[in-house]
Amino acid sequence: MPKYMNLTRVSGSQRPRLDFELDGARCGALEGDTVLTAAVMRDGYVRRSEFDQGMRAGFCWMGACQDCWVTIEGRGRQRACATVVEQGMRVKRS
């Protein structure tokens, strides 16, 4: 079982696959996944809190809590829950 959040796919797993880069390593995703979904599916978290160093995996999933910030190359700080994965996208957790 994965550590951290146990996000589980329950439908729509027949979508085309994509690849993007997360902190320099390849991360798979399905077309239509947000960066939050793809990151949490792989690692169980999306970022680390600056204040308590705890792992965070999104809270509101709707762009309100700001607990899913990542940096996307060419776009700066973005909300992972509101950003759909694109092939070859480069994402950093901090």
């Binding site: 959040m5 146990n6 589980t8 329950v10 979508r15 239509g32 709707m62 607990d67 759909v84």
Partner: protein, 463 residues
């Protein structure tokens, strides 16, 4: 270019507002930060991920399709700006950010602000663990991403969304560990006659969800109090006091929390609309007339962003606000239609009143939380941190209210701008200062309403 009328939000309220305006020959400019129109309840998965309306919206499928179809038909008559966040309003100018990178400004003569709502949550020990989400978050994950937040999910809170979400998780084949409702069964039973009289169809949907959950033997605790979420890397168990005051430990791997919704009012605030504390909904809400008109000329409000009323009410309020805008513009106003909308709005409001009284925010639970509980998720401020400010201020004998507490403790100054903690900070402050939440004051909004990236950006004005 001046778009005569701007609409913020393409949920049920914004879509119906747009429909009325287009029929009257106005071409509104519609901004929505989402990927597709539909708003929260009728939110769609991103492009490639196709699922049937029935699978996505269950009993609300027909309504969802109606709203989506109206928008699809309208689209060529609108200036629609998807993926566009409106982050500031100054006079008659809007400041926008499209696709997370392209800044722009737009002007308007009248504006209908319909930005919807967010979950109203409460802190609990352990609520920052990965695998704890809002009820709405757990629903969005399922609806738009086809993922469940865990394989043994505990749902905690109160209100219609709690039971609906439980039903949706069970339908999707995602196992539930328990449903923990802070409202007692007895309170619901007492309100049932008034609810049936107010809106039989909606009430019966609730009864149906409840019945299917009981049939599936999902453990249900009513009149319960959540105590803590325990776990190291993710939730392992949820501790509660059940309806009889007994300690119960629920094994789980995820928890979703929510006690109704609170309106997203920051744009109205920045636009200068006055606010009032709504004792029934226990939220600060922008003051507006039934038509959506506010004290600020040209600024109208509709939908859950003005006051929580639900999707049906949002549709009515959106249409009503559009007629008010047409009136201000000196265009023809169909008075019969306006009267019909107002009658329907009053009927919905009466039903909502029953719901609001049945599902109050259980602020007494806050009083029992351990002092070290993290209150502000963004900056890690604890309840004790907020209380220390109260004590220090009492010594200094200066009047304290949330905005000052915010300055001292940074509660509400994190990047969510108090969306997750603002109302609980007010409740705690009010208890400490032995005053009402109204007297504890309102957290004022500041632009940008959501953080916007500083670098790198392309500054192409969209005008």
């Amino acid at each position: 270019m001046t778009a005569a009328v701007a609409i913020i939000g393409a949920g049920p309220a914004g879509v119906r507002a747009a429909e009325v305006l287009v029929r009257a020959g106005v071409r509104p400019r519609v901004f929505d930060e989402g990927l597709a129109a539909g708003g929260r309840i009728y939110q769609r998965p991103p492009g490639a991920f196709k699922r049937s309306a029935k699978e996505l919206y269950g009993l609300e499928a027909a309504k969802a399709e109606r709203v989506h179809n109206i928008f699809a038909k309208l689209e060529k008559y609108l200036d629609y700006r998807p993926q566009t966040l409106v982050w500031d309003i100054a006079g008659k100018t809007l400041f926008t950010l499209t696709g997370g990178t392209a800044y722009g400004t737009e002007t308007f003569e009248q504006i209908i602000i319909a930005p919807g709502a967010v979950d109203r949550v409460m802190p609990l020990p352990g609520w920052t663990l990965p695998g704890v989400t809002t009820l709405g978050g757990a629903q969005i994950a399922l609806k738009t991403q086809g993922v469940a937040i865990g394989e043994k999910v505990a749902l905690v809170g109160s209100g219609p969304l709690l039971w609906l979400l439980a039903h949706q998780y069970v339908q999707a084949g995602a196992p539930l560990a328990a449903l923990v409702d802070t409202t007692s069964f007895a309170a619901k039973a007492r309100a049932s006659a008034a609810m049936m009289a107010g809106d039989a169809a909606t009430t019966l949907k609730g009864v149906y969800y409840t019945a299917t959950l009981r049939l599936k033997r999902i453990p249900i605790h009513e009149g319960a109090v959540p105590v803590a979420i325990r776990g190291e890397e993710r939730p392992r168990e949820l501790l509660i006091k059940d309806g009889k005051g007994r300690d119960v430990t629920i094994a789980c791997d995820a928890v979703a929390l929510g006690w109704g919704l609170k309106p997203e009012t920051r744009l109205a605030d920045i636009a200068g609309v006055p606010f009032d504390y709504d004792e029934v909904q226990q939220n600060w809400i922008p003051v507006r007339e039934m038509s959506g008109k506010t004290a600020v000329q040209g600024v109208y409000l509709a939908g859950d962003g003005a006051r929580i009323g639900g999707a049906d009410m949002a549709e009515l309020a959106g249409a009503r606000a559009a007629w008010a805008v047409l009136g201000e513009r000196g265009a023809f106003v169909d008075e019969d239609e306006v009267n019909r909308l107002e009658r329907a709005l009053k009927k919905e409001a009466a039903y909502r009143d029953v719901l609001d009284k049945l599902f109050p925010f259980p602020s007494e639970i806050l009083a029992g939380l351990p002092e070290e509980t993290v209150l502000c998720r963004c900056e890690g401020v604890s309840i004790a941190g907020l209380k220390r400010t109260c004590a220090a201020d009492a010594v200094a004998m200066t009047p304290l209210e949330v905005n000052r507490a915010k300055a001292f403790t940074r509660v509400g100054m994190g990047r969510c701008q108090g969306r997750m903690c603002g109302h609980t900070a007010s409740e705690i402050l009010a208890r400490e200062l032995k005053c009402g939440v109204r007297e504890a004051g309102r957290l004022r909004a500041q632009p940008p309403v959501k953080p916007v990236p500083l670098v790198p950006v392309t500054t192409e004005a969209l005008t």
